[in-house]
Structure formats: structure tokens, C-alpha cells
């Protein structure tokens, strides 16, 4: 009997705590700018090596692409594609706002991806090169406002509305569902100027690496098209590795 009462009290306590926490978040939410700053800080990577997998759901087939990426700060990244065989050996280098891809033999060519080419799809996925290149912190691009509280993936999330504070950003409005205990945007929606929903990103799984929460599996979806979108899996991530600087050079593309 005592045991039953104990269980009931524990459940009640959890619910009451959650309700109090939710009420507290709703009544005294952090400011939009603080939330964006916390997200930027949490997702910032100083130096890291990642192994990723991209699953692209196309009309008639599913493409899986695996890659290893060396990251140095917000602006430098070097990616080597490992799978499938037809993509193996392809490399991509990002230095600031410049991007190059290397196609191995028989082409053996380095192509600069610039201007409007950045708006093309990345390997047929729902992501564009431009989406991948966007390094600037959200705080510098958008004004944010908390507009509500919603439960998502069993987590209480603050709902933020972001409005561009600069001209020329790809998306004038965004909506974020932010888990305030992990500072992760579990869901993001990108809107056209007219208000039409264009893209949706959902973080399906998270993992804790060296004391911070990081997305493990994300789904990107172009909301105007059919299909299941593109899944992006971070299979492993190692922070604070010493990465030699020569990796982030054009010469490394042909090595």
C-alpha cells in the first residue's frame, strides 16, 4: 500500500514539477536574443572531426552518402565523401564564404561553387550549398520573440518567431521550437515573404557529447515538394582535436 502511494506521489510530483517549469517558462521566458545566443553557443564547434551519413529520399530510390568532415570554427570545413563508390574520393572545401569541390579521376577537376551555383541542391538533397554555407550566428541575422510553449518529442519547447533584421537573407521569417534545457532547436520552419512554409528541419535524435547536447539525426524537408526529405545523421563527433591547418587548403583537395 505504502509502495503504491509512493509511486502515485512520485508521478504527481513529476507532473507538478513539469507544470511549474512550463508555467515558469511561459511567464518568465528568456528573451529571444538570449535564446538565440544560447543556441549559437551550444552549436558552435571550435575544432571537430565528424562522421556523417545523409539519406536522400528521392522519387524512385534512396541515396545514402557517407562523409568525414574536419571542422575548424564556423567558417572552415573540409569534407571527404566515403560512400557510395561513385561519390568516393569527392572532396569539398569551405573557407569563409568560398566553396570548392573536387571530382577525382578521370575528371580530376576542382570546381568553384560560387554565386548562383550556391543555390543548387547539395548532391540531390533537400539542402542547398547555401544552406550549408550559412555560418552567421542567428543573433546577427534575426530578431526573435517567444510566442508560446509547445511539447515536442516529450520536451517542453519555447516557440520562437524570428524576423530578419537584414535585407537579402534567404528566409525572411523562421519559427523555432527550442528545448531550453539543451538549447537545441528541435524543429525549425522556414517561410517565404508571403508566409508560405518552404522548409522544415526536425531534430529527431540528440546525443550528449563532452557535456553538451548535439543533434544526432535531423530531417530536412522541402515542404513544397513531395517526398520524405533528407535525413542527416551525425554518426560520431570528436571535439577539440588538433587538426593540421594544411587540411583547410586547396592543395588538400587533390591529395
Amino acid at each position: 500500500m505504502n509502495r503504491k502511494i509512493h509511486v502515485i506521489l512520485t508521478i504527481c510530483f513529476i507532473f507538478i514539477s513539469a507544470a511549474i517549469q512550463a508555467n515558469d517558462l511561459l511567464n518568465n521566458p528568456p528573451t529571444g536574443a538570449t535564446i538565440l545566443k544560447n543556441i549559437d553557443n551550444n552549436l558552435h564547434v571550435d575544432k571537430a572531426i565528424t562522421h556523417t551519413k545523409m539519406v536522400i529520399y528521392r522519387r524512385n530510390r534512396i541515396n545514402t552518402i557517407k562523409a568525414k568532415t574536419w571542422i575548424s570554427g564556423k567558417y572552415n570545413a573540409f569534407t571527404e565523401y566515403l560512400y557510395p563508390l561513385r561519390e568516393k574520393g569527392k572532396k569539398m572545401l569551405k573557407l569563409g564564404d568560398k566553396l570548392w569541390t573536387y571530382i577525382p579521376e578521370p575528371s580530376d577537376r576542382i570546381i568553384t561553387i560560387s554565386g548562383h551555383m550556391l543555390r543548387q541542391s547539395l548532391m540531390g538533397s533537400d539542402l542547398s550549398y547555401e544552406d550549408m554555407m550559412n555560418n552567421d550566428p542567428l543573433t546577427s541575422q534575426y530578431n526573435a520573440k517567444v510566442i508560446g510553449l509547445e511539447s515536442l518529442l516529450n520536451r517542453e519547447c519555447l516557440v520562437l518567431e524570428l524576423v530578419a533584421k537584414l535585407n537579402g537573407l534567404s528566409y525572411e521569417r523562421r519559427k523555432l521550437w527550442v528545448d531550453p534545457s539543451r538549447w537545441l532547436p528541435l524543429k525549425e520552419e522556414l517561410f517565404a515573404k508571403s508566409g508560405k512554409l518552404l522548409k522544415r528541419t526536425v531534430i529527431n535524435e540528440v546525443f550528449k557529447v563532452e557535456g553538451r547536447w548535439y543533434p544526432k539525426k535531423m530531417t530536412f524537408k522541402d515542404m513544397l515538394s513531395k517526398g520524405k526529405g533528407t535525413e542527416y545523421h551525425i554518426e560520431s563527433i570528436e571535439f577539440k582535436k588538433n587538426i593540421p591547418s594544411h587540411i583547410f587548403s586547396k592543395a588538400a583537395l587533390r591529395k
Partner: protein, 391 residues
């Protein structure tokens, strides 16, 4: 007259050999004239169609715009300068605005160019007036039959269009297909969707913007304007003229080979005739006929093949040429897929000076080829000829 009678009797006597030569030659004559007419017809038809449906009397392009580089379309537009706006106000030109974008028929992405056109324009043959609708909540769109086939869109369908404004920010809305036009120009149809230019300007936040300004046919001198490049008809038709020229050359090579075979047959006939008829040549010379008269006789015999070929060619060629210039030749769909503005039927065109010049050149070639083997007669002695010997 004697030479003519003798020549006629001789080629008539040659029987089937003569007719074989005549048939091959007539075939070559008719086909060469037909191919000239076909190329001229193609040239005229493409240029007329392009002028009517695409380029009018020339165009102005925004200085950053290059229609052959799709990456220039996004930035290749700007506000029309005053001098060009005056042409628009006087109805001597019509502006067009090109914006790269995507549409999602049946929620499948398709890259398109959103093209804005003045709904009241009359400069080019495009039913832009169909874009005039009363409902201000609907954005009307016009597509061509090829585009309708590619996207499976029908009149009354709504389709989502996505584009970027002049600063690069995404925007999207639904547009309604109000008309499906049939145009001879694939370049005004495939992978594009036409909207009222005023609406498209609002959509990209580009007041007064245009990419191309198409001028009225026969407009005369036009002003020079900073940052807008005038492209005259010579420039706009340069590629199509080069294409037609290369087509003309390749066609003439093909039929030239056929004509060469006919000429070879005449040459061969002449050589054999001179070889076999040495005694006849000797007799004619012994009877007092001069060397040049004998040469004329043989040359005339050869040339008569040409005359007969023309007569035979006229019997079946004239109806064929008249038929192809009035009823036309149905073209395969591939010409449309190649992006050539020509329509589904090609009408051949025969200019009298070109026709006469072609016939004269072909006939003179036959005469020359007939004459060539007869040169050996100059050196022939009548006594040797009578004995059947060549000099």
C-alpha cells in the same frame, strides 16, 4: 542545224544508256533545286517566326543579362531608362522581365523562368491579353502547350511558384493557369511561365524593372542607352543564320555527290563514244567537217543529256516543287524539341533569280564535262581516224 540533227540522232540511237544518264542527271537537278528551296524556305520561315514571336525588330538587353547563361538571369534586370520608357509609352516596344524560379506541379519541383509581359502589348504574337482577369486575389499565368505537356498543367489549375526577390529573399505563391497558348517558338514556351509584368515586378519588389525590351518590327533608328545593350536583327539572327548556312553546305555536298555521279556518267559516255566512233569521226573529217565542228557535235551530244534531264525533271519536279511550296512538308517533332521556331510544316521557297542561276550553273557544268573528253579530237588526223587509230 546539221550538227544538232546529227547529235539528236546519235543520243537517240544510244537508247537506254542515254536515258540512264538523263534520269540520274534529272534527279540531281531536281534535288539540288529542291534542297535550295527547302533551305530558303526554312530560312524565311524561321526568321519570320522569330521576328513575330520573339525578337520583333530587335531588342535591348540589360547589360548584366545573357540569355545563354542562366546564372545571369537573377541579376540581369533593372529599371528602364527614360529613353526606353518613352518607346514603351509610344507602343514602339514592350518590356519583359525574367525571374528564375521553381514551380511545383503535383508537388514536383521544376526549374522555370517566370516571365513578365505587358498584358496590352501587341509587339509580339503572344496572347498576353489572356492575362487580364478581374479577380485581384488571383495571379493569372499563361503557359505554352509544350510546358503544359511537360508539367501536365491544365487551364484552371493552381500551381505554387517560388522565386527570390531582388535582394535574394525567397518568396512563394500560388498562380492560376488561365490560358494555354500554342506558339511556333519553343523558346517562348518550354520551361517558362508568363505572368503580367506589373505583378511580377511587385513580386520581386522591382518597380519598373525589365530584362529585355523588344522593339516593334521596322522601328528604324533607336537610341543608345547606358547599361542597356541594343541587339539588332543581325545579332539576334546570327546563330540561326549560321545554322542554316551550315545546313545549306551539308545539303549541297550531299546532292553535289549525286550530281557528280551524273556528270561522271556523261564523261564516261563521251570518252567511250569518242573511242568507239573514231572511224565515224575520220569519215566526217574526210567529208570536210572541221575539227571544231566535230568537237561541237560531241559536246552538243553530251549537253543534250542536260537538256533532256531538265525536260524530264520538269515533268515530275515541277509538281513536286509546287506541292512542297504550297502544301508544305510535315516536320518531325524533333525540330520542335531542338528549339527551332519553325512550326510543324516547312514550305519551300524558290526565288526566280536563284532558280535560274542554279539551272544555268548546272547546265554549264554539264556542257563543260561534255566538252572535256572531246579535246583529243583536236590532235586527231583524219587518216588515222579512218583506220581506227587515235593520235
Amino acid at each position: 542545224m546539221l550538227i544538232f540533227k546529227l547529235a539528236y540522232r546519235n543520243i537517240k540511237g544510244a537508247g537506254i544508256r542515254t536515258w540512264l544518264n538523263v534520269v540520274v542527271l534529272s534527279l540531281a537537278f531536281v534535288l539540288i533545286i529542291f534542297s535550295q528551296g527547302m533551305i530558303d524556305g526554312m530560312n524565311e520561315q524561321i526568321i519570320t517566326t522569330m521576328q513575330d514571336t520573339e525578337i520583333g525588330g530587335g531588342q535591348y538587353w540589360h547589360h548584366l543579362f545573357d540569355p545563354y547563361d542562366q546564372f545571369t538571369i537573377e541579376d540581369g534586370h533593372g529599371e528602364l531608362p527614360v529613353k526606353l520608357q518613352e518607346l514603351v509609352n509610344k507602343r514602339l516596344a514592350t518590356p519583359m522581365l525574367w525571374v528564375p524560379g521553381s514551380i511545383f506541379p503535383d508537388r514536383r519541383v521544376q526549374a522555370v523562368v517566370l516571365k513578365g509581359i505587358d498584358v496590352d502589348q501587341t509587339i509580339i504574337q503572344l496572347p498576353s491579353d489572356k492575362l487580364k482577369i478581374n479577380d485581384k486575389n488571383i495571379i493569372p499565368a499563361l503557359i505554352g502547350t509544350r510546358m503544359a505537356k511537360q508539367t501536365k498543367l491544365k487551364i484552371g489549375d493552381f500551381v505554387t511558384a517560388r522565386w527570390r526577390d531582388k535582394d535574394g529573399t525567397f518568396d512563394a505563391t500560388d498562380v492560376k493557369i488561365v490560358h494555354i497558348m500554342s506558339t511556333l517558338a519553343p523558346r517562348m514556351d518550354s520551361q517558362q511561365i508568363w505572368l503580367p509584368i506589373s505583378t511580377l515586378r511587385q513580386m520581386i519588389d522591382g518597380k519598373g524593372h525589365a530584362t529585355v525590351l523588344t522593339l516593334k518590327k521596322d522601328i528604324g533608328p533607336v537610341p543608345i542607352v547606358d547599361k542597356w545593350i541594343h541587339r539588332d536583327l543581325n545579332y539576334l539572327l546570327k546563330e540561326i543564320r549560321a545554322l542554316i548556312k551550315s545546313k545549306r553546305v551539308s545539303t549541297l555536298i550531299f546532292y553535289g555527290i549525286l550530281f557528280g555521279m551524273g556528270l561522271l556518267a556523261i564523261f564516261d559516255t563521251q570518252v567511250l563514244a569518242i573511242f568507239h566512233r573514231k572511224k565515224e569521226i575520220g569519215t566526217l573529217m574526210a567529208l570536210g567537217m572541221g575539227r571544231w565542228s566535230v568537237i561541237s557535235l560531241f559536246t552538243l551530244e553530251g549537253s543534250l543529256h542536260g537538256v533532256l534531264a531538265y525536260l524530264l525533271g520538269a515533268i515530275y519536279g515541277v509538281p513536286l516543287l509546287v506541292y512542297t511550296s504550297t502544301t508544305g512538308i510535315p516536320l518531325p517533332e524533333i525540330t520542335d524539341e531542338m528549339g527551332i521556331a519553325m512550326g510543324s510544316t516547312l514550305y519551300t521557297r524558290y526565288g526566280i533569280p536563284v532558280l535560274l542561276a542554279t539551272m544555268l550553273i548546272l547546265f554549264l557544268t554539264v556542257v563543260f564535262i561534255s566538252f572535256l573528253p572531246t579535246k583529243s579530237i583536236v590532235k586527231l588526223k583524219p587518216t588515222d581516224a579512218l583506220r581506227g587509230k587515235m593520235a
